[in-house]
């Protein structure tokens, strides 16, 4: 016999925390196939009516890195010593940063984009948020290919630790997904959130040592020390390019933080998701 579903006011609060966690995992498990379908939909719909298709994943990092190279050459902005060709340094950083930035942006917009569907069909909204990050993961992989091309071009040999690269991306994905859960709900109710995120992402990119190495002193150095994104971008980059890094502890703590944030946020999402269909 089928299970009884009961809907009451504040439905999600009726059960204990343990039950809610089990519910969340069951939902994710049951909707793997839906997540895949939604991911396929996003991917196909972006590339089907586009000439450049997946090449767009190259364009944004190339333009941003190019801008920095021009600024650097003309002496307007001095990039510190990177030890390796700047473009390789910057593209690696951008690949990780973009994974975070595009991930959080598309996740935040995912519920609004599917608004007409949400108010008509009862389906797993977590799947929608999770699937929206697939796009960023594909772009990330494409940028890794770009990186490989640059390695060949400059005649560099990557460290063997490059095989951990997919693993390094996990904390960033969890971090972006966690915030994406919260922002997607808020954005569903107040559209300003989407704009704020878009602006903040640009701001944070320049605040985080992505396109430049972390300065030794000054305000930016201080901020970077408390910026989890600094560790999550710089540690993998150091490892891939030089094989060693002195910020393992920072990375480790940031990774734990991202796991923590992911769970807190998906929990809050679970408690509040039906509020979006009321007001989207």
């Amino acid at each position: 016999m089928n299970k009884i579903k009961v809907y009451t006011p504040d439905n999600a609060l009726q059960n204990g925390y343990f039950f809610i966690i089990r519910e969340i995992f069951a939902e994710l498990k049951n909707n793997k196939w839906l997540i895949l379908q939604l991911f396929k939909r996003d991917l196909l719909s972006v590339y089907k009516q586009s000439m450049l298709g997946v090449l767009w994943a190259f364009i944004f990092p190339l333009v941003s890195v190019g801008t920095f190279i021009i600024l650097n050459r003309s002496g307007i902005f001095t990039i510190g010593e990177t030890g390796i060709p700047y473009s390789v340094f910057a593209i690696t950083g951008m690949a990780f940063w973009q994974l975070f930035a595009t991930g959080i942006t598309s996740a935040s917009g995912s519920l609004v984009k599917a608004g007409s569907m949400i108010v008509k069909i009862n389906f797993s909204k977590k799947s929608l948020v999770i699937a929206s990050l697939g796009q960023s993961v594909i772009s990330f992989l494409v940028q890794i290919i770009l990186l490989v091309i640059l390695f060949v071009y400059f005649g560099l040999t990557p460290e063997w630790k490059i095989i951990f690269l997919p693993l390094f991306a996990v904390p960033i994905i969890l971090f972006a997904m966690g915030f994406g859960f919260i922002f997607s709900i808020l954005n569903g109710i107040v559209r300003d959130i989407g704009n704020i995120i878009a602006i903040l992402m640009t701001f944070f990119m320049f605040l985080t040592p992505v396109l430049y190495p972390k300065p030794e002193t000054g305000l930016l150095a201080k901020i970077s020390e408390f910026n989890p994104m600094y560790y999550m971008v710089s540690y993998p980059r150091d490892i891939i390019l030089t094989g060693q890094s002195d910020i393992f502890n920072g990375f480790y703590i940031s990774a734990l933080l991202s796991v923590f944030i992911f769970f807190i946020c998906i929990f809050i999402f679970h408690l509040t998701e039906s509020r979006v269909s009321e007001r989207i």
């Binding site: 089928n2 009884i4 809907y7 009451t8 006011p9 609060l13 069909i121 109710i189 509020r275």
Partner: protein
């Protein structure tokens, strides 16, 4: 829950907010409260909020069809969304057993750039079908929708008919335990409508419970044993379909009853009395009973041979019949001052329902009018016989 009960709705209410800005603030505050584990105190109305759906209760068993009727804006769609679990009630409780399917705005999850085939898998997944389920039913879905050669065409190039046919086909093949239907039976052309009705009947035979929202009272009357009437100003009532339909007609009638009076005023129809065969004023008639309409007029000036016409309208506002003195080749004579005359309808062939009377007085050629009165009187034909169309013509069957 009791045996075979699939849906139980207990004094359920849902509120909405009139102001968008406030709705945003309330939304954020509800989210914050829920996020820290506090109740949103949804049973209380805040400023600018109102009950869109108030205190609804009913039960639905396996294999039953429940009709839901109500005037526009009474909360029928909100009720379906609550049953579908799209949002939670603000008061009361809804319990549901089994998979809920919805034939509400089918094709809502389609992506225009994806092909029909891709959309079948996507939409199926969104509607809660598993991969194997869709694979197994894929051919049935395609055959039923009749999209055939367009399977690999992006759905944005589909005609609107093909679009809804495919959407209906996917939704109908979900094999739900409870099916929510919102006016869907009019999807596609006449052949597809026949097919979709047959499909719904098949689901019903398999034990699916159906909640049917419709303005088509004939359909409700024929399909549903029990019906819920929801209406803003009065509590919801659940009862035998024919009784509920009668109540609904009275409500809708009350909303639309506007007397209108136009014309030059040379001659006016002051009132039309509806009389029974004993010449007493009456409202309630049986089918076939004699109805006498007594026209009370007042002619300011002397009028020669005016043409009198009468229209009888049913509760959908459709004219059931029109009677004219000029069609009947009657010279009405000279009118001056106050007076009255009768129109005798010896046998009415009208279906049960409420009827409204409108009348005209034209000059003798029947073009320009002196007076036009709309909704001047009304009467009711009682009974519960379900007949399609506007009148019940006398008939006999002969099977040999």
């Amino acid at each position: 829950m009791e045996k075979d009960v699939l849906i139980r709705v207990e004094s359920t209410s849902k509120k909405y907010c009139r102001s968008l800005k406030r709705s945003m603030i309330y939304g954020i505050s509800d989210i914050c409260r829920n996020a820290v584990g506090m109740s949103s105190k949804s049973h209380k109305l805040r400023k600018n909020e109102f009950w869109a759906l108030d205190n609804i209760s009913f039960e639905l068993k396996k294999g039953e069809v429940l009709g839901i009727i109500g005037p526009n804006g009474s909360g029928k769609s909100t009720l379906l969304k609550l049953l579908n679990g799209i949002f939670w009630p603000d008061k009361g409780q809804i319990s549901i057993i089994g998979r809920v399917g919805a034939l509400i705005e089918v094709g809502a999850g389609f992506h225009p750039l994806l092909t029909g085939k891709e959309n079948i898998f996507l939409n199926g997944a969104i509607l809660g079908m598993t991969k194997d389920e869709i694979r197994n039913k894929f051919d049935d879905i395609v055959n039923f929708s009749g999209i055939g050669e367009f399977l690999d065409t992006p759905v944005k190039h589909y005609s609107s008919g093909m679009f809804v046919r495919l959407g209906f086909s996917i939704a109908a093949h979900c094999e739900p335990d409870v099916l929510l239907v919102d006016e869907i039976l009019s999807v596609g052309d006449i052949n597809f409508q026949a097919k979709s009705k047959k499909k719904i009947m098949e689901l019903l035979d398999k034990g699916t419970a159906i909640v049917l929202v419709s303005h088509n009272l004939n359909l409700i009357n024929n399909l549903c044993k029990k019906t819920v009437l929801i209406n803003k100003s009065s509590p919801c009532i659940l009862g035998k379909t024919s009784d509920i339909i009668e109540k609904y007609r009275e409500i809708v009638w009350g909303n639309n009853k506007n007397f209108e009076n136009y014309g030059t005023g040379d001659i006016t129809i002051g009132s039309i009395d509806v009389l029974n065969n004993e010449f007493r004023k009456s409202y309630d008639f049986r089918k076939d009973e004699q109805i006498i309409l007594k026209f009370n007029y007042h002619a300011e000036n002397e009028i020669e041979d005016p043409v009198f016409t009468l229209g009888i309208f049913n509760d959908d506002g459709i004219q059931v019949t029109g009677i004219r003195t000029d069609n009947d080749k009657i010279m009405t004579g000279t009118f001056y001052g106050r007076g009255s005359f009768d129109l005798i309808i010896e046998k009415n062939f009208l279906l049960p329902g409420i009827y409204s009377i409108s009348a005209n007085v034209y000059e003798k050629r029947g073009i320009a009018f002196y007076n036009r009165v709309i909704n001047i009187s009304e009467f009711k034909i009682s009974g519960s016989k379900g007949v399609f169309g506007y009148i019940d013509i006398p008939h006999k069957w002969n099977f040999k």
